[in-house]
């Protein structure tokens, strides 16, 4: 077809990221500047025109998927706050990074919720932790901390109660080795001192009132006339934070009319462990074990995303060797094994939620235990593997797998590693998946419960920045391993699992196909491991630096984790020699952002379906609340 005959927009949404940036820069010369700081990329948009330009980026340039929106506090480096957005095309390719700046004192940036609904929770997080207001946001209130909390903790001048120093290692402990406890100086464990006229008798919790307010619930209960003219009340149901089906300390506040859900508001932050604040005090290496504790079901995948982001930054410097082929193959193997663990767990607990209480889980846990035994023998820990390093790994596979604890019911006492892997990948795991499919896929009860429930349309899935099986279950063929490949995925042969229905059953089917695809990948990894046996996992034969210095710049590393797109936005603000601690460390958590469409997905369904819908999204609270 004649290229020129296409509409101009048609051409624009196929141009490369660089061309898109040039286009924006020339078209909107007054509002769009190139970001020319050392190691940075993308554009800086005048916040007054942010919404218009975002619309151009989405509609004309075709970057329809907002992956991440987060804020950075450049205190002492220009003294402004900056919102950073990463937009992608669902057809694949790299990110268009655009930023908007605002003052620290009166921080205001227009909300992009009207363009991408997916920015909803992320903007609320930026307000909560950074104190940026977003005019135009429909429901701007704190999301992780409670309403009424003092201050915005991710600001660089906000200090936590046990504050010691800006960066680790703390002088008081290293190299002197003194034991020093910050809590002895601050016995209350909080950093608020109370005013003299404090009235403790009238102290009450206002955080709950704020939750109900946003649902339009106050003192008055709304009266509804049902179809027969009876006056009925809308009822508020609180599920969680202690509830067996919320997969942790997650809470949903729903209003129901009879048994039908009319609105739903996710309430979170019950496991907000200040991952990012702590991460900005830690050294780069320090953060790897912390990433384990994000999505604690698949720690290997978390490690991978983080080391990719930091390796991106390190590759800007001179002294950097990319990981060897064997290292990449091992990484992919570990990540795919975690994906299997993750999906087995997800399917098992989703079945719990829709009524098959615990029996399927018991079978899946068996297979999971075997994989965990392998992790334990290789990395030293069952769940928190802490396995990957910048440019390498903690260690190669051992010759023989030896049990760490050596108990009577340990299954790998002493076993040849490759033999164990071969048996597991070629026999055990496929057998488990076959069993699973035989019992479940055509199961009448399962189909009755899940087909047509919790529907998320294709358009909504993209607009709400859904990721992982939630996105692919809605018919979007988007898997980062294919769309924006990393590691050795380009040379591996696998298919992206897609289902078009967008309901719970479709998500289940996507997960099952991904289990099979993971096995397919693992089968291709085995010969690669055998071929590279004896090769080092480090490019120069010895482990990388203990405290690497990372060059100035920003990086966004993302991987396709079991739960969806896991991204790390890391800013290094070192001087000439680079920095030893990240200036900004942000996690784009799929479990968090996948909850944004929870409200629309559950409206109109029954209360009993809600737990199933939540289970089919597959969240883990360590990552949701971070």
């Amino acid at each position: 077809m004649d290229q020129a005959a296409l509409a101009p927009e048609r051409q624009l949404d196929a141009i490369s990221v660089e061309d898109a940036i040039t286009h924006l820069n020339s078209e909107y010369a007054d509002e769009v500047q190139l970001d020319e700081r050392e190691g940075y990329g993308g554009i800086i948009v005048d916040s007054k025109r942010l919404v218009d330009i975002a619309r151009v980026i989405r509609d004309d340039l075709g970057f329809d998927y907002l992956s991440s929106a987060t804020a950075v506090d450049y205190l002492g480096e220009g003294d402004h706050l900056e919102m950073v957005y990463h937009a992608y095309r669902t057809t694949g390719g790299g990110a268009l990074v655009f930023k908007a700046r605002t003052d620290r004192d009166n921080a205001v940036i227009p909300s992009l919720v009207s363009i991408w609904r997916g920015s909803d929770f992320q903007e609320r997080e930026a307000w909560d932790l950074m104190g940026i207001r977003f005019p135009g946001h429909p429901n701007l209130k704190r999301i992780l901390m409670w309403e009424g909390f003092q201050g915005h903790p991710l600001r660089k001048d906000w200090r936590e109660a046990y504050y010691e120093e800006e960066q680790k290692p703390f002088d008081s402990r290293w190299p002197g080795g003194h034991v020093h406890r910050a809590e002895e100086k601050n016995v209350f464990g909080k950093n608020v001192t109370y005013p003299p006229d404090i009235d403790l008798g009238r102290l009450m919790d206002t955080s709950e009132a704020a939750v109900y307010q946003s649902l339009g619930l106050g003192v008055d209960v709304e009266r509804i006339m049902d179809k027969d003219g009876f006056e009925t009340d809308e009822l508020v149901v609180n599920m969680g934070p202690h509830h067996p089906s919320t997969h942790g300390v997650f809470r949903m506040v729903l209003t129901v009319d009879g048994e039908t859900v009319t609105s739903l508001e996710p309430v979170m932050g019950y496991l907000h462990r200040n991952h990012e604040k702590i991460g900005e005090r830690n050294t780069y290496l320090h953060n790897i074990p912390f990433t384990d504790r994000l999505d604690y079901i698949s720690s290997m995948g978390n490690n991978h995303g983080y080391v990719l982001a930091v390796e991106q930054l390190m590759s800007l410097g001179r002294k950097y060797n990319p990981p060897t082929y064997r290292c990449e193959a091992l990484r992919v193997m570990m990540v795919e094994l975690s994906r299997i663990v993750n999906h087995l767990w997800a399917i098992g607990f989703w079945l719990n939620d829709i009524g098959a209480f615990f029996t399927p889980v018991l079978y899946f846990v068996q297979e999971r235990e075997r994989i965990l035994d392998f992790f334990e023998a290789v990395a030293g820990s069952r769940m928190m593997c802490n396995y990957m390093r910048f440019g390498g790994l903690f260690g190669d596979l051992p010759e023989r797998l030896k049990s760490v604890s050596n108990l009577a019911n340990d299954r790998v006492r002493d076993y040849n590693t490759m033999q164990f892997l071969t048996e597991m990948i070629n026999e055990r795991i496929p057998r488990t998946i076959d069993d699973l499919e035989r019992l479940l896929t055509q199961n009448e009860i399962l189909i009755e419960r899940s087909v047509g429930v919790g529907v998320l349309t294709r358009e909504d899935a993209i607009n709400y920045s859904a990721a992982g099986p939630l996105l692919r279950g809605s018919g979007v063929d988007y898997d980062i391993r294919r769309a924006d490949p990393y590691s050795i995925y380009p040379e591996l042969d696998f298919d992206v699992a897609v289902e078009n229905e967008g309901d719970m059953y479709a998500r289940y089917r996507v997960r099952v196909s991904e289990l099979r695809e993971s096995v397919r990948i693992l089968k291709q990894i085995l010969p690669r491991l055998e071929a590279t046996a004896g090769e080092s996992i480090w490019a120069d034969g010895k482990p990388g630096a203990y405290a690497p210095r990372v060059p100035h710049g920003e990086a966004y590393g993302r991987v396709e984790n079991g739960k969806g797109e896991l991204g790390y936005y890391v800013v290094s603000a070192g001087g000439r020699g680079g920095s030893s601690n990240p200036w900004r460390y942000h996690v784009r958590a799929p479990s968090f952002i996948n909850l944004t469409p929870m409200g629309i997905m559950s409206r109109g369904y029954k209360v009993a379906d809600i737990v199933g819908i939540l289970g089919s999204i597959d969240i883990v609270l360590g990552e949701t609340d971070r």
Partner: protein
Amino acid sequence: MNLQELNQSEFPVPAELENNIAITSLSQLYNWGRRNSMWPMLFGLACCAIEMIATAASRFDFSRFGFEVMRATPRQADLMIVSGTVTKKMVVPIVRLYNQMPEPKYVLAMGACASGGGPFKEGYNVVSGMDKYLPVDVYVPGCPPTPQALLYGMIALQRKIDGQSIANGDDVPWYGVSTAEPTPVPVLGPDIIDPRQMDMIRRQAEAAAVDAPSIGSRELPAATPLVAAKVTVDTTAEADAAPINENALSFVLPTGAAPWAEAEEIREKRRLRALARKALRATRRAAVAEEE
């Protein structure tokens, strides 16, 4: 307590009844029944919860030791396994859940986080250990503890129960005469507020009014929390230079009576009152019996 122990008693049992009669103490029998039917609450907080589930699942299976089944409601649970990071936001519901559990009740702190704050201790939303709010019976170290470690901790709890006695009423609260008071539920203000610290907070506020706020305090811009008026934040940045913030410590250990002495006193009073009530009831009953 095994069968052999049951059958070996210092009390003489006629030869023909041997192995048919067992003599034991009431405490022992009571504890034996209780330690072998401890139902944990189905309640997971963070990563440790996954290992707790693994411990309950097919391979490790804590039902074998009497932790038969996890109950989702606190009203049917005997044991709260605090499996994960306790945050300031979550400690409020946790204390409520604990108050809803019927006695006798036990708390097991699983992992580094629940025991003392763990890797996330420095965080602004993290409580440095469950024992800041609830009485913890067993601590299990690890991050996360392996299922084996958790099982060991649970068995340690069983041993602890073995040592409790009905005869000694002050041993554990539920064998005493007084009724248990619920643990006060913390309040989410500008930071978390523990009602048990109210006195200290008041004293601190008064002290702050007299002399200038301690070194290192600074005003926060635009504070609109529920505690109106001025709110200052102790950054302890400069205070770092001073060895220990004497000012702060003095609230924990006010000159004279320690705060726990006060609590002790209250508990003692309550006990005496309960005893008096009991005595009164007994005399009344005796009076009624006499009339009849």
